[in-house]
Symmetry: C2
Subunit: 206 residues, 2 copies
């Protein structure tokens, strides 16, 4: 299966890393287009210009590749969120971070497709990313509740805002806007819609 | 392939219809669980207790079965919407119909899975249901804009409501709530959240 690696010179660390990154990038695109169930290791390998065995050398199963894709996205998303001052004590950094992420993701091919398709598929309890998505949404809801609670304590939310229900609303709105945007990118302004709704809840300009 | 049909007595119209209904019901479940790409005709046939050839006798391709599933859902949804007085001149029937549908769908297994998984997959332009979903969302947006415009003309919306943007917001909210609910049914009250948001926009009790 892996005969190439015994003939060819051992690839260096840098080229091995570049290969892994390429595989993760192609897997991100294919999972986002046809879902985990619809994607095959063979097709991802072909997109990378390597053999199936060559891909399995880096990621022994399709599940391990899915995990790598999601971990990579988590890292990138968290870094971007921190840049937006998500730790700010008044909670507004998190809300601004949500808008910024919607804006950013709309310009980066494949990310929204990936989350939209996988989160839908993963609602099935036997999907390999089911626990990941259950946990991801819980984390997002908890983070949003934290931000809204902080903002409320600072008097930055309109009177009567229920933080738990609003957190679920905003998280849902983001996901739903992604679907609408994927199907009608010219008619749906994801970041604009989200900014508008959040601004209705916050008493200071965002 | 279809040798059974030449040996067995020709099934009557009623039993042929029952068979078709059963196939559509099983396809609805499987498409909702693993998506169009992940589902196979063989597995749907097995769930119905018939052969692959037996299924293909009724639906010659997986695409034709997908079309039948979506047409069946459209019929059921439209009938339910009309029961809610969606034609009422002041537009409130449509808004009430949205809440009722969220409530109803949360009790009917498989429908929300189906729309959530297929609409996500179908964002890919080469998906067989791509045009269907582009058209479906355009129709839903148009219908919601119509209802909000009517309600606004009757003075039933809070001042300053932008009907187009609000229609996109509500449509997105419904889809996003479905994903959240699928992944955390005990924490997310789809119909309750939707009712709350619509009630914030409408000046009379819903």
């Amino acid at each position: 299966m892996e005969s190439m690696s015994t003939i060819a010179p051992e690839p260096g660390y840098a080229s091995g890393r570049a290969r892994r990154e390429r595989i993760v990038a192609e897997a991100t695109k294919l999972f986002g287009r046809v879902g985990f169930h619809g994607a095959t290791v063979l097709e991802i390998a072909a997109q990378c210009g390597i053999s199936r065995a060559g891909l399995l050398h880096h990621f022994p199963t399709k599940e391990s590749l899915l995990r790598a894709v999601l971990e990579e996205r988590d890292r990138a998303e968290l870094a971007r969120f921190r840049e937006n001052g998500s730790a700010a004590r008044n909670g507004l950094g998190v809300l601004r971070g949500m808008i910024d992420l919607a804006e950013y993701n709309s310009k980066v091919s494949g990310i929204i497709e990936l989350y939209t398709v996988l989160s839908a598929e993963a609602s099935a309890p036997d999907h390999p990313a089911h626990d990941y998505f259950v946990d991801r949404y819980r984390r997002i809801r908890t983070g949003t509740i934290w931000a809204l609670t902080r903002a409320k304590a600072e008097g930055l939310l309109v009177d009567g805002t229920d933080v738990t229900s609003t957190a679920i609303e905003l998280t849902s709105l983001i996901d739903g806007l992604q679907i609408q945007w994927l199907l009608a990118p010219d008619e749906v302004d994801m970041a604009g819609q989200l900014r508008k709704r959040i601004q209705q809840l916050v008493t200071v300009p965002l």
